[in-house]
Symmetry: C2
Subunit: 242 residues, 2 copies
């Protein structure tokens, strides 16, 4: 398995697709250069276009006998600067980056100011109305625990079981930068971004904190808030049983 950091700004997302530049394809090309093999990758989370990763995890099977400690420098020298392999290690044959994952942590950055930010434009959601952190925190508390998060899932997902457990949601503010961190046993398609969109609506008084319970009970995507844009999201870390 390899752990990967990437700046998703110039990619169509993790997943290979025709006529688009994906992170997965770039890594497959680099693997092909050093092994001459067509190697398929399993990723822990399929990030969308513009979404970033500090700790994406992917696994693959190699026929070539390359020492594990050579994988990182060999891949990085064949990858653009906006994709970096952080480390590599051998794992049992039944390891799967996605199915073996125990929990995941995502960060979501908001830039809260009347003017846009040039430095954070590709790494944050620009919210112009002043956000109440305490309202967002109170709403977030109602999401902690095990719930059916179906209302917080975008259509287009084939997932049947929409029950997930969120262990923690932390909200930190430094000047205009607000960082939300989410740790849970798994996240549905666009779940973090829909939760953030809903918390932003609560934080700007467009809807009351109490809406959270109603949204969860409804299991209806239309009851939740908007989907916050992709560039604020970072797949921070994937945890596996040790």
């Amino acid at each position: 398995m390899i752990e990967i950091e990437y700046d998703g700004t110039n990619y169509s997302g993790w997943q290979i697709q025709p006529n688009a530049r994906s992170v997965q394809e770039e890594i497959m090309k680099a693997l092909k250069k050093i092994t001459n093999e067509e190697i398929k990758l399993n990723a822990a989370g399929r990030t969308d276009a513009g979404v970033h990763a500090k700790g994406q995890v992917a696994n693959f099977y190699l026929n070539a006998s390359i020492p594990t400690n050579r994988i990182v420098p060999a891949l990085n020298s064949n990858l653009a600067q906006d994709i970096t392999v952080l480390n590599a290690k051998e794992v049992p044959l039944d390891f799967h980056a996605r199915y073996s994952a125990e929990s995941k942590k995502y960060l979501y950055n908001i830039y809260n100011s009347s003017t846009r930010s040039s430095l954070f434009r590709n790494y944050s959601y620009h919210v112009t109305n002043k956000l109440s952190i305490s309202k967002m925190e109170n709403a977030a508390k109602k999401l902690i625990g095990t719930h059916d998060f179906k209302a917080f899932m975008s259509s287009g997902s084939s997932v049947q079981d929409t029950v997930r457990t969120i262990y923690t949601i932390k909200i930190d503010k430094h000047n205009n930068n607000i960082c939300l961190s989410f740790h849970g046993n798994g996240f549905l398609y666009n779940m973090v971004r829909i939760i953030v969109g809903t918390l932003v609506e609560i934080g700007t008084d467009k809807r009351p904190i109490e809406d959270i319970e109603q949204i969860l009970l409804s299991k209806d995507r239309r009851k939740a808030g908007h989907t916050a844009p992709p560039q604020g999201l970072i797949l921070e870390k994937v945890y596996y049983p040790s």
Copy 2:
């Protein structure tokens, strides 16, 4: 005067120059669009290619009568996303962004890890050898106060008086990210970057802390360390007498 944030990655620096895209020229073009005047700008600090700003200040004289509160939205809608005018206010005619400045604050970001960072590549200096923060702090202390910083100035500057006062140097570490902040009454050409290069050499044990006194006394650029790269540097704030 206007306060400006910019991502310097795709610019040749602040200063207008032929066959290059400068921040100053982009703002002059935007000013021309909204006033139809050729307006010259005075900036507080002429940042080099790749250097960023969160609080650059520039002043200019307008003949057109545009209400001050319209300047910010009008300029921003005529500027690329990587330049943002944060605010604008009228100032006395004798105000000069550079000569009226009382002090300045710069930040310098280092990414200290054996592997590069895709997310911070355009906003930090990648140092692979482990840095000792305490050694850097002890060396930095010797630079606080009023000194002749001639040894920490790149050639190519016409400045005669090379005495400056540094009020504070703070070093903060979060995981692999090290942020140095410098507050002083003024900085010579490349002074922050040469100080950072020297502190990095001390922090990685390439030279002793005591070198600092010798470098200051020598007034010889060749005695100081290397010039740290531009992309780690941010002009954070310019202070004026209130």
